[in-house]
């Protein structure tokens, strides 16, 4: 008996539920669709194009139905669409497991769910799906713009929920309520962020391509390989110096060292590794913090020449710095540099021999030129001076678009084309020096970097990739020579944008004449950097440090849970107290009236708390006889708006205007 009654009640309740929201109302639907579009659109960047397009098309269909007020499509059609979508996803990915197929299915399901939305329950399910898709954005990308997108999407989803609870309300009111809710959630988010145990390593299912090498540098170099990078404004790393950074001409960030030359390409050769540098650092020291973007290699392009570091780093015999593992996540290193240190003074004979080897019959004209230049020279230093003088006299042209070179690149560059990028200069110089018998090798890395005036970080981009040469001189060791500086000293002094005669070759962001754009970019990059350092860089270690500093000891689970609970309770208490003590929300008319009364009180005619608007008008007229008419109008308008039958919005604006026109100081 009771059971039957209960069942009847439940049925009645369900009927009531669907009856109270017969179908999606226009205001609710708009919010819901906006929220869904904001959730689906960003996934378009990595989902298969047809999935994103179909998902958005389903939303558009729903929008058309909503605006026409038509009935939802038949359930059978939706079922068929769902099956077709599932088959498509299976065909695309080959399976249903993992993040990408899952997201694809979710995007399609969201569109289908909204198409069959009839009851309030369906709207809630739709909002939940939207929120999940917002969360899933972070599985793909965790940058600041993504966070902003997710925040905006969450706001829209909340607005849809608010619209569901208050179908008659006004859209702006819904958005305001949603924003308040979101703002109230932020303290809880911060507490969870700071105190909730951090997960070691990247989030589950971070895209595999995050680990693919994106660095411009590689361990081979052929003509044209670096000039491609000149076009990329992507950030390679950032350096924050403790004192003043070195002058631009001293900023050489050492990457792969290339010793073996096959006549056309330069290759790296294996080198020994050790925990300490192969030299004794001397001279002035620069301390800095290097934040390097992931490139999936172990290279750490450090400022020449790094001093001993934390045990986490390795040093090679060709003077490079390596990380222990390939850099698959943005990493931070505390480094020091000794720019004046002599290096490789006691270089081994094998290394020196390898650094003078040239393949037979390659670049014959250059070899002949070098032999002519070296004839009669007293030592290698003099050869170096003569080669430099000769190169300078040639007036070679520095350009991002060098002509293609054939089998003897050095010959063609020196004698025919005379136009090249840094790798042409470095490679040709090295060929000449080796032909003259001087041990020489190519060093690639980055040169320069731009100071971001906003956060005082030196930003090094892929476009700062550079190749230079190193010459071994008796008693001095390896000496850096940058042949590019002979043709384009600005490249070294000021950066690539100033060295190229024709700016149009560069992408917009790198051009020298776009000052305002650069300043905007500085700000943006400083914000991104702060995000990376403080949000994404909040690792388990840093959390432990912070907890220890907060006096939570080793951060044992019980202590953390207690801290979380305490913080949440304090926040709840604070919010509750705020909501209780906050004065009740007043309507716009009342706000206008109270501000008017306050203004009049300041003008010496305060309203008694019990005084009605008409009484007050009479009182005001006695205090300001010159404005009797205007004052009476204001009071009468207010009385009509506040106590009269439903005021239209124009009248509220009229009251605002009347008050604004009043000239009483």
């Amino acid at each position: 008996m009771i059971g039957r009654h209960l069942l009847a009640t439940m049925r009645a309740g369900r009927r009531h539920d669907s009856a109270s929201v017969p179908s999606l109302q226009r205001g609710q639907g708009t919010w819901l669709l906006a929220s869904a579009a904001a959730a689906v659109a960003p996934h378009g960047a990595w989902l298969p194009p047809w999935v994103a397009a179909l998902g958005l098309a389903l939303l558009a269909w729903r929008g058309i139905l909503l605006w026409r007020g038509s009935r939802p499509p038949p359930a059978l059609l939706l079922l068929a669409l769902a099956l077709a979508g599932a088959v498509g996803v299976r065909a695309e990915f080959g399976h249903f497991f993992g993040k990408d197929p899952g997201l694809a299915v979710l995007v399609l399901l969201l569109g289908l769910k909204l198409l069959e939305t009839r009851a309030a329950r369906d709207i809630r399910a739709g909002v939940l799906l939207c929120l999940f898709l917002q969360l899933a954005l972070f599985l793909e990308d965790q940058s600041l713009p993504t966070a902003a997108l997710a925040l905006a999407g969450t706001l829209l989803a909340l607005a849809a929920l608010v619209a569901l609870a208050d179908p008659g309300g006004d859209g702006r009111e819904h958005l305001r309520t949603a924003a308040t809710l979101l703002a109230q959630g932020i303290p809880f988010m911060l507490v969870l962020f700071v105190l909730f145990p951090r997960v070691q390593g990247p989030l589950w299912g971070l895209p595999a391509d995050a680990f693919s090498a994106r660095s411009g540098l590689s361990d081979t170099m052929s003509p044209g390989s670096i000039s491609e990078l000149g076009l990329s404004s992507e950030i390679a790393m950032r350096a924050a110096f403790e004192g003043a950074p070195p002058p631009p001409a001293e900023r050489y960030w050492r990457g792969p060292v290339l010793t073996r030359f096959d006549g056309r390409e330069w290759h790296a050769v294996p080198a020994a590794e050790a925990d300490a540098p192969y030299y004794t650092p001397t001279g002035p020291r620069l301390d800095y913090l290097l934040t390097i973007e992931p490139h999936n290699r172990r290279w750490l392009p450090a400022l020449e020449h790094p001093g001993p570091t934390q045990p986490a780093l390795r040093h090679t015999s060709d003077l490079r710095t390596l990380a222990l593992r390939p850099l698959q996540a943005r990493s931070r290193f505390a480094l020091s540099a000794y720019p004046a240190t002599p290096v490789g003074v006691d270089e081994t004979a094998a290394v020196l021999a390898a650094a003078t080897r040239l393949p037979a019959r390659s670049n014959p004209r250059s070899v002949r030129l070098a032999q002519e230049l070296a004839a009669g020279a007293r030592d290698h230093g003099e050869v170096l001076a003569r080669v430099i003088a000769h190169l300078r006299s040639l007036r070679l042209i520095y350009t991002l678009r060098p002509p293609l070179l054939g089998a003897h690149p050095a010959d063609e560059f020196l004698f025919d084309t005379r136009r090249g990028f840094c790798e042409h200069f470095a490679s040709t110089f090295a060929v000449l020096m080796r032909a003259a018998g001087v041990p020489t090798r190519i060093v690639t890395g980055y040169q320069g970097g731009e100071m971001n005036p906003v956060d005082r970080h030196l930003v090094i981009r892929q476009s700062d990739a550079h190749a230079w040469a190193e010459v071994w001189l008796q008693g001095r060791g390896w000496v850096r020579v940058d042949p590019t500086a002979l043709a384009a000293p600005q490249r070294i002094e000021s950066g690539i944008a100033w060295a190229l005669t024709d700016n149009a070759e560069l992408p917009l962001m790198l051009r020298a004449d776009m000052a305002w754009l650069r300043s905007l970019r500085h700000r943006w990059e400083a914000a991104s950097n702060a995000w990376n350092q403080h949000v994404l860089g909040y690792t388990p270690e840093r959390q432990r440090e912070l907890l220890a500093r907060l006096g939570l000891g080793s951060g044992a689970l019980a202590a953390r849970v207690a801290a979380l609970a305490t913080a949440a309770l304090v926040l709840f208490g604070g919010l509750y107290a705020w909501s209780v003590r906050r004065p009740p929300q007043r309507d716009p008319v009342q706000r206008l009236w109270l501000s008017f009364c306050a203004r009049m009180a300041a003008a010496g005619a305060a309203r008694e708390p019990w005084q009605g608007p008409l009484d007050y008008a009479a009182h005001l007229a006695r205090c300001h006889p010159a404005h009797t008419q205007a004052l009476r109008e204001i009071c009468q308008t207010y009385a009509r708006l506040h106590y009269g039958p439903h005021p239209p919005d124009e009248d509220v604006r009229a009251l605002k205007k009347q008050i604004a026109r009043l000239k009483i100081k």
Binding site: W610, R640, Y643, P645
Partner: protein, 305 residues
């Protein structure tokens, strides 16, 4: 426009009753709010004239009942008398069957007689010998009471006073009005010559128009705050009843209508409040009805929006 009738009426009335515009307006508001009026004053200030004027100007049937200690309920309501020809009792309506009744010195009658009238006022019908007789529409009672001579009177109990919507005092005329009164024609003669300026139907229109007047939520809040203040104030023994609240709102509506507005303002409520509250509240100290200053103080203690 219904309030045009009202204005014409007030204008005509103030030509006969000099210097009492406000009291006339209150009386008319009471009439429009379908309430009954209690006038408390010494004799000779024009209470009877006021009732006469209102009846005359609106073309209402008028009856005056002088209350004395030997007046019986049947003297007011009427009696059933056996009719030989039809061999049945026939009801002979008493003076209460008029549209406007002046119950003069109501506190001189016995409580039994008083309550007979007061019940008729509330029910707007008379029941005699098991038969119910409807009173005419509109039905309006103006009762007078002399506060000065209380010997041999039966003061109206609180429950009965609550049946009167408003209590007003006429008071002495100001010197200028009194001079005009002394120099001018006899008021009765003036009244005799005065034709009706509106009809009972107009009055019903006014009553309906007043009921349609808009009352905003903030105004209801304000009335509640006022009622709450009377109930919580230590100055009074007991506060205003919900019926008093309803009466206050109805009277404020009528007042707003007379002012030509389509909505009620706090000022209307504040104007009517002393007249609604004076005969319903009693000072905690001595049980007397509160003086106007006390009521004004109460109004000023209630914050508005």
């Amino acid at each position: 426009m219904p309030q045009d009738h009202a204005n014409r009426l007030l204008e005509a009335a103030s030509r006969i009753i000099l210097g009492k515009e406000r009291e006339l307006r209150l009386a008319l508001a009471c009439l429009i709010a379908r309430g009954h009026l209690l006038i408390e004053d010494v004799p000779g200030v024009g209470k009877t004239t006021l009732a006469h004027v209102l009846a005359r100007l609106m073309g209402l049937q008028f009856q005056r009942i002088q209350f004395t200690s030997d007046l019986l309920p049947a003297d007011i309501l009427g009696v059933s008398i056996f009719d030989r020809e039809t061999s049945a009792f026939r009801f002979h309506p008493g003076p209460a069957f008029a549209q406007l009744i002046l119950a003069d010195e109501i506190n001189r009658a016995t409580p039994k007689t008083q309550s007979a009238l007061l019940e008729a006022m509330e029910e707007r019908q008379v029941t005699a010998d098991g038969q119910t007789h409807a009173l005419p529409e509109p039905f309006f009672v103006i009762a007078t009471q002399n506060p000065a001579h209380q010997i041999g009177t039966f003061p109206l109990p609180e429950s009965q006073l609550d049946r009167f919507l408003l209590r007003i005092r006429l008071g002495y005329p100001d010197p200028q009005a009194e001079r005009a009164l002394l120099m001018g024609e006899d008021r009765r003669a003036l009244l005799e010559r005065q034709p009706a300026v509106s009809s009972p139907a107009d009055l019903l229109d006014l009553q309906r128009a007043a009921q349609r007047l808009h009352v905003a939520a903030p105004l209801v809040d304000y009335i509640q705050a006022l009622l709450g203040a009377t109930r919580n104030s230590p100055e009074f023994a007991g506060g205003l009843s919900p019926r008093a609240g309803l009466g206050l709102l109805a009277a404020a509506r009528a007042w707003a209508l007379l002012d030509g507005r389509d909505h009620v303002l706090p000022e209307d409520v504040q104007t009517l409040f002393p007249h609604v509250a004076a005969h319903r509240l009693h000072l905690a100290a001595d049980g007397r009805s509160p003086p106007p200053e006390t009521l004004m103080r109460l109004v000023q203690a209630v914050t508005l929006g």
